[in-house]
Amino acid sequence: MSMDMTMVPAALLPPQLMQTPALLTMTGLTRHYGEVRALLDVDVTVYPGEVLGIVGESGSGKSTLLRMMNLEDTPDRGEYRLRLPGREDGNLFALGRYERRMLCAHHIGIVYQNPHLGLLMRHSSSGNVAERLLIAGERSFEVLRSKARDALDASEFPLSRMDARPAELSGGMQQRVQLAKAIALEPALLLLDEPTTGLDVSVQALVLDTLKRLQRDRNITMVLVSHDLGVIRTMADRVLVMRHGAVVEQGLADQVFQDPQHPYTQQLVHAKV
């Protein structure tokens, strides 16, 4: 059962968020794969400029939810709305395949845990970023070069290696290329699926630093999925705790971690300690 947001004391929500309309609204998401319940009646709201963390163990439905945000999967029931400039407000799950692709290319960026999913390993790193711009219709070689350079730079990727192939790079560098690719078109929404899982701890810290800096400088709205509470704590403003396809608790990150209400959240928080 998800906690109704209106039950949270008003004083604990930052005032400006309550006045700004939500960027992302998902309601009533339900998804089954045969017998397996992946999502059950999930509601999500994300406000512009905030970082929403989604935490849970494997099988909690967090990755399914993220895939739906990226329009890679559709639910059995439920709606998805994004408030984007110049766009009608409609259920995105109802879009045709061409519109879906164009919307994702222009307005949604994604970083996958496995760089092989997000990158073309045999092309150059700058080419990977340029591909997004090409899909959006950019046709000037110099502009492709300079925008790719800018995006890689903002992701704190060393420009001397901008034409190296991702296959030749280390894990942390590959994630930076994914990040550059994801922000190249300055999307409204950035999705991150376990972006630092599998990297060395020291490298994780550096990549998270970059993410934090980027988020602050550009005020990017992010949804970050992780099983690692430390990562969520570092990055998220608000957090959703998921278990067995349902949201068991949600609220401000600090509040949820310091004073977890739901027994499962308590378990998660105390196990970490």
Binding site: R97, Y98, R101, L120, H123, S124, S126, G127, A130, E131, L134, I135, R139, S140, F141, E142, L144, D163
Partner: protein, 304 residues
Amino acid sequence: MSLATLTRPWAATSYGFLDASAKRELRRKMLKAIAVPGCQMPYASREVPMARGWGTGGLQVTLTLVNPRSTIKVIDQGADDGVNAASIRRFISRVSGATETWDTLAASIVQSRHRIPEETLREDQVLVLQVPNPEPLRGVEPNMSIARQMHADADYGRLWLTLYEQIVRKGRIMQGAAYPSLVNGRHVMTPSPIPRWDVPKLNMAKHLTFLSAGREKRLHAVPPYTRVEPLVFSDRPYRVEDHAELVCRRSGIAGYFMNEIPQDQGGSVFEVSDSNLGIKAIRQAGGESVEIGATWYEDGEYSA
């Protein structure tokens, strides 16, 4: 009344070799191809008495178009007397009764492997190009079904990326012949392995062009007065081969696409690839009254 009077004498083949059902399917696909310029239309592709890969696709289209009043020109690498061109031309005229010609100006149908003639083609002429691989996305996606979906989605990002990488690695686009081109602003096609020199001739041409791949069983078309734009970046202009200054050592004409002939003592000499153009120039220089038509290129520059 007898069986003999009721029936036609048995003939080994139909007019133009292909039977009625084969021609009907081809006509329908050819019309479809004209209706959606640059989009590949699959067809059954019947066997003909020639090996696959040797022009059976072009041949099937020509045999569908041909009638006893047609005049056909067949070239390979620009030459009418290439062995394969001669073999195809002989076959077409034998099964159709059409007239053979080497003169671009006199032909109603020009079937060609890998070149477009230098003299401009008119509204009443049809160009049939032989295509080995009709899929411009082959290098990016070898699976034909996925590639077909990419065309339907106008998903050409990875093709553009290939061109971007060429400039990054080599400083220029390295695509030799078969330069991928956008037709009518919608479908990307391969213009067949014609040199870059020939691709501009397809843009807003007066003539109809068919491109047919018999082995791969796909054909596409460029209707007259249709845009054909090679994929280039806005700040890296399209470049044809560097042949503007070359002179044909046999005929003396200059500014056309040339064949390079390596010499024993080192270096090369050049001969005009459109061999009949060279022949006409020689005959004209020898005093014969021979008509050489307007050409797409003048003094080595594209000017049509």
